[in-house]
Amino acid sequence: MIAFLLRRLFQAAIVMLTVALISFVLFNYVGDPINAMVGQDTSLQDREKLRQELGLNDPVHERFARFVGNALQGKFGLSYRTAEPVGRMIMERLPATLELSFVAAMFTLLVGIPMGVYSGLYPRHWFSRVLQTVSLIGISLPTFLVGIIFILTFAVLPKTCQHGLVIAGVTLIDCDFVNWFALPAFGRGDVVNLGVWTTGFLTGAGLKALILPSITLGLFQLTLIMRLVRAEMLEVLRADYIKFARARGLKNRSINFGHALKNTLVPVITVTGLQVGQLIAFAIITETVFSWPGVGQLFVQSVYSADIPVMSAYLCLIALLFVAINLAVDLLYYAVDPRLRTAQAATRAA
């Protein structure tokens, strides 16, 4: 077990170094950060001097070695764009991304699993077909489009309400009521600062602001989970032990949820674990559309200004996240699947 863990950690370290190296080489192609830093009439000498001071003229391997050396001591330097410490910039924005990803994951599971179960239990029912079709939209529409449509429908449209719902001269729903439902088009709303963590969970405006971005972010995964659960349900329901349970005269509810769903969830849990990493890493588009102040948006802005210190730190963070998740999954498999252990014993014996 210890050997396994050490081997995995060693591999993880190599992955991290490789990611850092590749990103460093790529930074040579994002353009000249100096041009993003100085005013138009800064003299060529001053530009060159700044480039020299920042060590941008050094060869890639030297800069890389310096970066790794500093990163190991937890130093990521100052942002070229804002002159703020990179570590703090990322830590300040991380809660926003994590909260968004958490809510999106919850949405995915709480809506996706019931949808999957329903369409698995009644595959031919018309409503299952509706769910199937709707879920297709989740995969086929690009995230930014979904986001913009949401903003127009739930943020702009209610605010442009003039008469509300008027039928035969009677106002059934007035504009104040409609406005009450309007959601914010951008930002996190009001957040509460808990020292190292800022949260939007504790205020009404903060919770309201989470609705549209988390649905947008979770839509793709929702489809994935729903289809996975549906396929698994169909599979499991054909299994012999379900038939046997029916023969024993158990109630439908107990068969569907007690036996079938429970057995379906094993792959779902595995996939969900991996998807959480995806949600965090790929929140970039959703964050950009909703101006959500998370790490993804920070990364996009850093690309625009060739802010190399921030970009390197971000990419390392994401690499770390994926490495950590994969490591955890590997360890779980190791614990769950006895075949892995026997395989190892077999090689040792041979």
């Binding site: 001071e53 330097g77 703020e84 924005r93 003039q162 951008f186």
Partner: protein
């Protein structure tokens, strides 16, 4: 389960009906205090007024800090922290300071703060050092008077320093921010995130890239024209979201409006578009210097060295057509390298020569030795100026008619500038834009864009095509130190004629500054795209 489903569908139907019943119309203007919320595509990159020499940062920080001499609604100089200023000799400037001014922390503003700030702005780590190139010494004469010696006569010093905002010496020293933050060190400078000046607004809170909140300074020395109780600035990077937030009333003003949305916002009964010409002139430049043109099929010579070729190209580009089609009317064609609001603009000379017919242009090319035209590469940024790439595409089409085949190489600005600008100047034909916002004077354009490049004297540093005319250089040098306005203008006129008749550059247009706001907001737009909160009124 079925019953549940039906209820769900009913609810969904009701929601759709509701959405349809909500017509696009005027919402009653909400009177929620006088909190003014506005947004831009990028954040103010720092709270330090010398960290960046960029319009947006300097304009924003002018709400908190103030310059000695500030610009009024028409971009003319007026008294700021200095009540009187001028020259006691060609190389000495004086500034008489306003008495009784208090910083936000209640401390008094004195000559020490001015001397400290000017040294900080001209010192290490500052991005404002270009404004100090002529400065020899800065000294305090009394508590209310500061004098500055320059190496050479500098008639524009006061004008340049309208960009230099004054900080408190005591505050900087207390917080260990005597110099601008050093990027090579691993520690943050206090002034990067905090601000304390003497201006009309105080910094209340700041979350970088998210929200910056200002509140009015009740002790301000000037009479406020605004009626705001709080100002919230947010960054909304995505253009569509920014426009949506304005339409939904979540924000009151948008600083950068995407050109394609101006029509929608102008038609919306709740919003208005404020637009005017910007001081920046967008132009095309030729390689006058190399003996063989890069990225071209012409070998052994450079067609752009021949004035007839430059004329044929200049007079085949239809700026009015670009304005009509590409710019949707949002540009102001020019024939000079400076805009009308800039000092030294020569109205009489701002006339473009008539367009040539394709055969006339072809004849010019043939006379120059290129009867079949030639092929060359046009370099273009994709994200720097309004519709930059599309303008270049239009130019490609226009020049195809006279047999000049253009290969377009468009790239993102950070890569673009590194390639185009000196010392590399790896280009034959390119697009740039320039605004002499530093001095509001034509000499800024002369010395940077048109004079012969020279690394020693720092002249012609943004003249990658190495255009060089000794007569022009001589005049530009004289313009720099001439303090007699009449003589100076005569020289400017002569110099302007030289570069115009040489077809040194192809000025295209001033792009429009486009802002949008809710109908209940009154504000002042200046041609240097500087948005000042002190002129904002909300009904």
């Amino acid at each position: 389960m079925l019953f549940e489903t039906r209820r769900l569908i009913l609810a969904g139907g009701a929601a759709v009906a509701l959405a349809l019943a909500a017509p696009l119309g005027a919402a009653p203007a909400e009177a929620q205090g006088k909190v003014f919320r506005w947004a831009n595509d990028g954040d103010v990159n720092s709270m330090d007024p010398y960290a960046r020499n960029e319009t947006f940062l300097l304009a924003f920080l002018q709400n908190i800090y103030e310059p000695l001499v500030r610009r009024d609604k028409k971009s003319q100089l007026e008294a700021g922290l200095a009540v009187k200023w001028g020259q006691t000799s060609p190389t000495t400037w004086f500034f008489d300071l306003r008495p009784g001014v208090k910083f936000h922390d209640g401390s008094a503003f004195t000559a020490d703060d001015v001397v400290f700030s000017l040294n900080r702005a001209g010192g290490k780590g500052s991005n404002m050092t270009t404004y100090f190139s002529t400065v020899k010494a800065i000294r305090k004469v009394s508590d209310t008077r500061v004098e500055v010696d320059t190496n050479v006569p500098d008639p524009l010093l006061a004008s340049k320093w309208a960009q230099i905002l004054i900080m408190s010496k005591a505050w900087c020293e207390k917080n260990n921010a005597q110099a601008v933050g050093d990027l090579t060190k691993n520690e943050e400078n206090f002034a990067t995130r905090n601000a304390m000046g003497s201006g009309p607004f105080k910094l209340k809170s700041r979350e970088p890239d998210v929200k910056t909140v200002l509140e009015p300074n009740k002790e301000w020395w000037d009479k406020p024209e605004h009626n705001l109780t709080e100002v919230v600035f947010s960054r909304i990077a995505n253009a569509a979201t920014r426009v949506a937030a304005l339409r939904s009333g979540e924000i009151d003003m948008v600083y950068t409006v995407p050109p394609q949305d101006t029509d929608t916002l102008a038609k919306d009964p709740n919003t208005k578009v404020i637009q005017g010409p910007e001081t920046r002139v967008v132009y095309l430049g030729f390689d006058h210097g190399r003996n063989e043109l890069l990225y071209s099929n012409v070998k052994g010579k450079n067609p752009f060295k021949d004035k007839r070729v430059r004329e044929a190209i200049y007079r085949s580009i239809d700026v009015e057509a670009i304005k009509r089609t590409v710019m949707r009317g949002q540009s102001y064609p020019v024939a000079l390298m400076v805009a009308p609001v800039i000092g030294g603009y020569m109205k009489d000379l701002d006339k473009r020569p008539a367009m040539l017919k394709p055969e006339e242009a072809k004849k010019l090319l043939a006379d120059a030795g290129y009867p079949g035209g030639f092929e060359v590469t046009l370099d273009c940024p994709t994200d720097r100026y309004v519709n930059d790439e599309k303008i270049c595409q239009a130019v490609v089409g226009m020049l195809a008619r006279i047999g000049v085949k253009i290969n377009l190489r468009a790239q993102t600005r950070l890569k673009y500038f590194a390639q185009i600008l000196l010392p590399k100047a790896d280009t034959s034909f390119w697009m740039l834009g320039w605004s002499p916002a530093a001095t509001f004077d034509v000499h800024d354009v002369f010395i940077n864009l048109i004079q012969t490049p020279n690394t020693e004297t720092k002249k012609g540093q943004f003249n990658p095509g190495s255009y060089s005319n000794p007569k022009f250089d001589e005049l530009a040098d004289k313009v720099q130190i001439e303090t007699d306005v009449k003589k100076r203008n005569a020289m400017i006129a002569e110099a302007t004629k030289i570069y115009v008749s040489d077809y040194a550059y192809i000025p295209l247009h001033q792009q429009a500054v486009i802002w949008a706001a809710r109908k209940n907001v009154d504000l002042v737009q200046t041609s240097d795209n500087s948005f000042q909160l002190r002129w904002v009124k909300m009904k």
